[in-house]
Subunit: 127 residues, 2 copies
DNA sequence: CTGTATCCTGTAAGATACTG
DNA sequence: CAGTATCTTACAGGATACAG
């Protein structure tokens, strides 16, 4: 394999970033790295406001990428459990780091936004 | 401020995740944490395949969130430099961690995808 | 050089109803 | 319970031309 180069649009590392870049993947991985295994409805309840179709898509994509293991128990009613694989758990550290950054710095970001938007409004008036 | 809760759709931390979640932000932050300041065209050249409009959007969003400082020099031809702020640099560690994870584990992910897709095909034939 | 201004399109995501 | 099946829509993102 050639040197991975995130900045090359054709480099597969980009596929990884694109995956992480969807709205739900990070949240699901965070959840499963805190509690595992979890069931479909359980995940759905914890991840606020996700449609079942979308949750399925997210889980399937994670499974396809080898980050997640899906286990179906032949019972009635059906029971399906999701848990991170070894590979998925290796994502835990970097992703929780992002999560913690978000929690610690939301305030600053919101302040920055507010003052940026204020300046914008001021410029509008000037012009 | 109430406890930040990433899983609450209305929690502002989600705004942060959404920002990180676009296609280019992570790449731009990575670039600027390696070399700074950088100019518009320079960024454009390094980030493979980004349209100028989109690069502008990305940079503006980062600026609005206080992660990026944009400096315009009154010269002809115009020169504009971009660099991370303190806040932006604090994102460096978590984001480079993601980048490194991608580089280190692309192989495994691609393998997982291939075998998953193979199984899918096999199931198709079975049915 | 550093961007706007337009126009256009694909697709992620949402809502909802339904099934084994 | 754990999902599919459908339908719909917004909007991020792309291509291209042009402007100060």
């Amino acid at each position: 394999m050639p040197d991975p180069n995130l900045y090359d649009p054709d480099c597969p590392t980009r596929l990884v970033l694109d995956r992480i870049g969807d709205r739900w993947t990070v949240l699901v991985v965070l959840l499963l790295s805190q509690k595992s295994p979890m069931r479909f409805t359980e995940l759905r309840r914890h991840v606020g406001g996700i449609a079942p179709k979308v949750l399925t898509q997210t889980l399937r994509a994670l499974e396809r990428d080898g980050l997640l293991r899906r286990t179906v128990y032949a019972e009635v009613p059906p029971r399906v459990e999701y848990e991170l694989t070894e590979l998925g758990r290796s994502l835990r550290a970097p992703i929780t780091a992002i999560g913690r950054w978000a929690e610690r710095h939301v305030g600053e970001v919101l302040d920055a936004r507010a003052s940026y938007d204020d300046d914008q409004r001021a410029d509008q008036v000037d012009a």
